[in-house]
């Protein structure tokens, strides 16, 4: 009897320790408010509404989920780390396709990141997300035009995801700004991007295709990251919450 009690006490202790270990490294994310979460308060309501409409339209057309999030603070984390954890916690993108994208802006840290889900790494390569950040977003952020920079970045991303804009165009925007005689380079870059994209796509289909769902399920079973919102798991895919997608750190970051 005493022994049983001792075992029971030990079990309770173990549970308590487990719980405290899980709470020790808690990173809290802002309350998710649909596809646009403006925790830092840098978007006016008109821009916000326009963004929400664009993002909902994108998801309606090809199920790709693009979330825009601004945060007050990165809580001491590197933006790459923060973005990846947030992406997985919220499960951006459809579970079976991992087709989510997160545009994260931290104005107080002067950092921005585009985090790309596994399934879109072929379309939104590291190089093209870097170009979007450097050409479309950062120049406007430098002029304190946050709504403009975010809108332009989202437009570029949505254009690429819907196949209405090409990597060539986005690369050319920079070339046009810097010098005139670059068409050869633009052609070269396009071919390069196409090949790289195709290779990534093929690699993805073979290597990571099965891994994708594996990652997202593994991600759900880990309970050490608690969030102030628990909406991601409770509501179904028809609403504007994440569909369970995952990311492995694809994309690019920048600072201004």
């Amino acid at each position: 009897m005493r022994r049983a009690l001792l075992v029971l006490a030990l079990l309770v202790l173990a549970l308590l320790f487990g719980a405290s270990a899980a709470y020790a490294q808690t990173l809290t994310f802002p309350q998710q408010t649909g596809r646009v979460t403006d925790d830092a308060g840098i978007l006016d309501s008109a821009t916000r509404a326009a963004l929400v409409e664009k993002l909902a339209g994108l998801e309606a057309r090809n199920t790709d989920q693009l979330f825009v999030v601004t945060v007050k603070s990165l809580q001491g984390y590197a933006i790459e780390d923060y973005a990846n954890r947030m992406f997985r916690q919220w499960g951006i993108g459809q579970r079976d396709k991992n087709n989510g994208v997160l545009l994260l802006v931290a104005p107080s840290d002067r950092k921005v990141r585009i985090e790309v889900g596994y399934g879109l790494e072929g379309t939104l390569t590291d190089a093209i997300t870097k170009l979007i950040i450097e050409n479309a977003i950062i120049p406007r952020f430098k002029a304190n035009d946050f709504p403009g920079g975010i809108t332009r970045g989202v437009d570029n991303l949505v254009g690429l995801l819907l196949g209405e804009n090409s990597a060539q165009n986005i690369a050319a925007q920079k070339s046009a700004g810097e010098s005139k005689a670059i068409p050869v380079m633009a052609v070269f870059l396009t071919i390069w991007f196409l090949i790289a994209g195709w290779i990534f796509y093929m690699m993805h289909r073979r290597g990571l295709g099965g891994g994708g769902s594996n990652y997202s399920s593994g991600n759900h079973s880990s309970s050490s990251w608690s969030s102030s919102s628990s909406s991601s798991s409770s509501s179904s895919s028809s609403s504007s919450s994440g569909g369970g997608g995952s990311s492995g750190g694809g994309g690019s970051s920048g600072s201004w």
């Binding site: 790459e80 590291d126 997300t129 994309g251």
Partner: protein, 202 residues
């Protein structure tokens, strides 16, 4: 009547077997193998990402050479570190072998350091910095370093779960009976600062 009795007896066996199966899986008999497989999968992802980085390097070196051939020591350090890192024969057993794992980790850390110096040096060459090919390679390198960081984090977490299962109740019962050959896995020890992507300014 007799028919239904025989039928009941026949159907009872699979039901009992199924219930026994449920009971066993309920108390975690499958946990050790499934955690092990999950950790192995995460490990192969870590290796993939390191491989991807190694594959980027020859191109990067060629591009830098075109503009800054005089930086021979830095370029040679990267080439040597890459050769060293890729020469380590990687077998699945490496995650159970502390010595081999340490060697692998050190070789990759050395390559990270050499690459960081190469990127820092290239800051001094404006023509190189504005070269499109270099910019593309640089963003890919950054992305790969970041993927390595994520893959390492996932692996560390998977190993933690697996090793914990081996040493805690009820897993410890299965570990000492059914899965005696399962050993704890090695994990990364270097400070995460070392694995941060080299910071690059455009």
């Amino acid at each position: 009547m007799a028919f239904s009795a025989t039928f009941a007896r026949f159907i009872r066996i699979p039901i009992l077997a199924a219930m026994l199966g449920l009971l066993l899986s309920g108390c975690g008999v499958n946990n050790i193998p499934s955690h092990e497989e999950s950790a192995k999968a995460k490990w192969s992802d870590v290796q993939n990402q390191y491989q991807r980085r190694a594959d980027l390097i020859p191109n990067l070196i060629e591009t830098v050479k075109g503009f800054a051939a005089q930086e021979r020591t830095v370029l040679e350090a990267v080439t040597a570190a890459r050769a060293n890192a890729t020469s380590i024969k990687i077998s699945p057993e490496i995650i159970n072998d502390p010595e081999a794992f340490k060697k692998f980790q050190e070789a990759q850390a050395q390559l990270s350091g050499a690459l960081g110096r190469l990127i820092a040096v290239s800051e001094r060459y404006p023509e190189l910095k504005s070269n499109q090919n270099f910019l593309t390679l640089q963003s890919q390198l950054e992305g790969t370093e970041n993927r390595i960081a994520v893959a390492r984090r996932d692996y560390i977490e998977a190993v933690r779960v697996y090793n914990t299962e081996l040493r805690t109740f009820p897993g410890v019962i299965w570990a000492s009976t059914l899965y005696k050959s399962n050993k704890p896995m090695e994990t990364f020890t270097t400070a995460t600062d070392l694995s941060r992507p080299p910071q690059v300014r455009f």
